[in-house]
Amino acid sequence: MDAYVLDSHTYEHDEEGYLKNLADWNKELAQLIAKDEKIELTPEHWEVVNFLRDYYEEYQVAPAIRILVKAMKKTFGPEKGDQKYLYQLFPYGPAKQACKIAGLPKPTGCV
């Protein structure tokens, strides 16, 4: 089984790197996953990651990119609720990469 290793703890992930157990997540683990994704987490990244975690907490679903853009727009305004902005932060797909770093499952509807 594939796993992230952090401070001699192991955290199982699936073949694409999504955490198996949502409850495993913590900020240090997020840093580690981000490193695997070649992303340096800035406050702007954290804003998206935390937003996704809140969204999941409320709706029990990881939103597809279109929905993420719309929901971000509602909360943070059009500058951040913008596909291009999100792709700059997460070049390999904002919903996919940000969800992975946030410890959420792959967004429903993402292939």
């Binding site: 409320e58 709706y59 679903v61 939103p63 279109r66 929905i67 429903t108 509807g109």
Partner: protein, 145 residues
């Protein structure tokens, strides 16, 4: 030949799709599968509605707690449907009555109406059997779960 027209692409044709939910939320995978298909198909921008009848009405009940059965409580996800532009959740009145349920027993699910300053409007519509029959008759596709 330069002036050959490409075949007309059917991307702008909206179909009326209705997902018909007849089973209780847990115990079988139908309810969760239906909801996942609904979320995925929302990307195709069709005219989507959901119907809840028979034991399917239990899917929308307030206060679901699955801690005793080791399954994920996915009922909060119905509240995200408005974000996915799914605004019509028809619930059959007779199915509620037969189970001793009232509209108040169901979750409040709403969407934001962009044409009216994002005013919150209820997505759940209680209809009787004959109304639902008519609504079903207007659909292009019915998907049963």
């Amino acid at each position: 030949m330069a002036d050959v027209k490409p075949p007309e692409i059917a991307s702008n044709i909206k179909k009326k799709l209705m997902y018909v939910n007849r089973k209780a939320p847990y115990g079988t995978i139908y309810a969760l599968e239906s909801l996942e298909v609904v979320l995925i198909s929302a990307a195709f921008e069709q005219d989507v509605s959901l119907a809840f009848l028979d034991d399917g009405v239990y899917q929308l009940m307030k206060g679901q707690n699955t801690s005793g059965i080791g399954m994920k409580n996915f009922s909060p996800t119905f509240k995200a449907l408005g974000d996915y532009e799914i605004k019509k959740l028809y619930v059959e009145k007779e199915s509620l009555d037969e189970r001793g349920l009232k509209p108040d027993d169901l979750m409040e699910i709403s969407y934001e109406d962009e044409d009216e300053g994002f005013a919150k409007k209820p997505s759940v519509r209680i209809v009787n059997r004959s109304e639902l029959t008519q609504i079903m008759a207007q659909q292009d596709v019915l998907l049963n779960f």
